[in-house]
Amino acid sequence: MVKDILRFKNSILSGSLIIISLFLFILILFITLYNAQNADFTIQFDSRMYQLLKFTIYQAFLSTTLSLLVGLLLAWSLAHQSQFKGRKVLITLFSSSIVLPTIVVVFGIIGIFGRNGYFNQINLFLFDISFGSYLYGLSGILIAHVYLNASFAARSLLQSFESIPKEKYKLSKSLNFSIFKRFYYVEYPAIKSTLMSIGSTIFLLCFTSFAVVLLLGGSPSYNTLEVAIYEAVKLDFDITLAIKLAFIQITISAILVIISSSFQIVVSNLKASSNIIFWKDSKTVQLIQWFIIIVFSFFFILPLIVIIIDGIGSNFLQILKDTLFIKSLYTSIFIATISSIITGIIAIILSATMRNFTIRTRLSNKYISKFLNLIFLFFSNIYLAVPSLVMGLGFFIMSQTYAGSEFIWTISALITANILMSLPFAIAIINPLMQKTAKRYDKLSFSLGLTTLQRWTYVEYPYIKPSLGYVFALSFCFSLGDLGIISLFGSDEFTTLPWYLYQLMGSYRSTDAAGVALILLILVLTVFILLPKLFRNKIVKNN
């Protein structure tokens, strides 16, 4: 056995080092949090904490159910309307929803659905009724969550729908299945696993959701655990309370992550595949499908349009000259670049290690391999268990107790958090690909005696290059639009674009805010669409 392990020493070593350092980091985080408490370590479960927990779970559950429902309907409609003009563009737009900065999305949603938003204004003008302020509170949180997650769910589910072999549809058509029967027998089995994994991912995202609840929750009445931690630090300076909440948060998130680790996150690529289903449904059903597509596209595009309209009206020269804006822009881009590069590298190294444990030609028949694989997966997804505010709290306390300039601590905190935030998605994309290359080329590479460098240059890199571009774009955009840790560390001295936008939104300068929101949106969309193009292979990829 030792001989076998030595064969793969390079890949195992580097991956293990990373996992061990991650583990140590989490350990230090825990120890710091534990030591920072002045009182005894007794978590008194008072009624407020119970309420917080109840609300956090409740809104996560509702958001997940609604997102899955909407996403499923949309994916189903799109799957059966496989040929119309602009379909590719629409699907690309939907898949970009995952990188849209939450704060920008919320800003757009407020612009439409807020009390003074366009929706109410139009209703007032035409029908003289105003729907009042339904946006702040639970409904606002649900709307924002569905917006962000349903499109992501739809995109992933659509891929599952399109992977159903045509023959099954042929069969169901010849058996004259109703749409319900067809769904139950043909489609549901195919999408079930995706549904589970997407569902658990969305639940975790909504459970640890910060920016949405902060901006639309509206008041301490609608707080989730994350926001309560933020408020305990920033408003009350009650670090003990913050730590208590953090521990509750970690415990529950960790349990959820362990449960859902068995479902791998399924992330689909930008490109829309075109598996055409030839047999259209009845006219009524088609009408329903079209209705769903149009309504959801409308709902999805409107906030973006609002941002564009409101943003164009703002004074760009004034914004661009503002020193704080320039500082934020520079800082955001700098941090995003560094963290996306490191994320890519870590994802590759970890995948290289993990495939040792799952491939037959390597070590997968050892007993310990499956267990190690799970550990690696768990640590790649560690961000979902230790969400941004908790990590921020740990970093904050560390920066207070240990030496080091505030600047270095802030940058380390941001970069670490951004890397860990993108890692689950990066691994979800790179890992399957590297497994494929190993399965395909292992025997050949070993028989040719390729060194690691040669193997990387000729075998791995060309194959994963396009996805690598997608990973870079994804983590760059995640980092660019994040409003998590920066909320604890942000100041006039250290600011990022989302933080700057948050400050603008909270003061008189709403026209400036619209301008900055537009700039941020354009930046994110440009990077997300153009960066993968840089990495595209000139030869046609064969799968």
Binding site: G114, S133, L138, K234, D236, F396, Q400, S510
Partner: protein, 330 residues
């Protein structure tokens, strides 16, 4: 040769700026905005004292205190300006401030206030502000508020981060006492949102998102004088108004204590008092120059100020806030 000349000039310039000490003041954001008091105060103070006055604005008044606590030993603040007497005793507990050693007995305050650490510099009365073009049925008491129609919305501030929010909490507590929790439960459906600081909530009100905002009796003066608008008004409440006396204090960690003390005494000069009414839109604590018109001449001024003793707030703050949190939690 020319480069050497340029470098010499540059270094002289830099050194010259180094010689002038910098006094850093942490305060709430509306104080430091371009249309707030800070620019004029900066100009006036720097003229008579060879120094640079730097204002750092934070989005909420108590938030400025929290920021100093968060920064710990590395804070650059010399003065914290913008807390009020309700939160002052709590702030004293942080042990971050030193005594000012000034004589503050002869100030124009509606109630007597003396403290060895905190120095008052302006005051006002809390009130709910509305737009009379949009709101026809005006509430004039807290009972009226909870009897408004269902779609009536107010925006208030968080008492943990905003002195205005804390003011409302204490105002309601002073009127309802034991039944305050019950009152908040009834008020809760009318609250549109609870913002961290005053400026965010006032911005929401001006945008039309809410019918009323918790602000000051003197807020309308801004719209009358700066915008020539008379439709923004403050509602006079039958049972009296809670007040706010804003204070400032010197940080123990400050390296410019002498300069800071000079600033605190500067806050009681006519120059300062002339600036405050039309930039911070509240009452100054010393007399303004005779030539200036009183901008609050036609505004409603409550006959007396309800103010809870700081010590009582300090002892009961956590309980009052927890009671409030439990009452509004959905």
């Amino acid at each position: 040769m020319r480069i050497l000349f340029l470098i010499t000039i540059l270094s002289i310039f830099l050194i010259a700026n180094e010689i002038k000490p910098t006094l850093t003041i942490y305060t709430y954001d509306s104080f430091t905005s371009p249309w707030g008091p800070a620019p004029k105060i900066k100009q006036a103070f720097e003229k008579d004292n060879n120094c640079t006055l730097k204002f750092i604005g934070i989005s909420s008044s108590i938030g400025a205190l929290r920021k100093i606590q968060l920064e710990g030993k590395k804070t650059k603040a010399d003065i914290l300006l913008g807390l009020d007497t309700s939160i002052a005793e709590v702030a004293k507990d942080t042990n971050l401030f030193i005594e000012h050693t000034l004589n503050i007995t002869n100030l124009n305050l509606p109630i007597k206030y003396e403290d060895n650490i905190f120095v008052p510099f302006d005051y006002s009365y809390f009130a709910f502000v509305y737009n009379e073009n949009n709101l026809k049925n005006i509430p004039h008491s807290f009972e009226d508020l909870i009897n408004m129609p269902k779609n009536f919305k107010i925006v208030i501030q968080d008492p943990r981060s905003s002195t205005a929010g804390l003011g409302l909490l204490l105002w309601i507590k002073s009127i309802y006492g034991e039944n305050a929790s019950n009152y908040w439960k009834q008020l809760s459906p009318y609250i549109l949102t609870i913002t961290k600081g005053w400026s965010e909530s006032y911005g929401l009100f001006l945008k039309g998102e809410a019918d009323m905002v918790l602000s000051y009796t003197t807020s309308p003066a801004y719209h009358i004088i700066e915008e020539n608008l008379t439709n923004i008004k403050a509602s006079s409440f039958k049972n009296g108004h809670y007040g706010q006396i804003e204070v400032a204090a010197i940080l123990k960690s400050s390296k410019q204590k002498v300069l800071a003390k000079k600033f605190l005494s500067f806050m009681h000069t006519k120059t300062f008092a002339d600036i405050i009414p039309t930039s911070n839109w509240v009452y100054p604590v010393t007399n303004i120059s005779n030539e200036l018109k009183n901008p609050f001449k036609n505004l409603y001024k409550p006959s007396h100020m309800i103010l809870t003793n700081g010590k009582i707030v300090q002892q009961n703050r956590k309980d009052i806030i927890n009671e409030w949190l439990n009452a509004i939690q959905k």
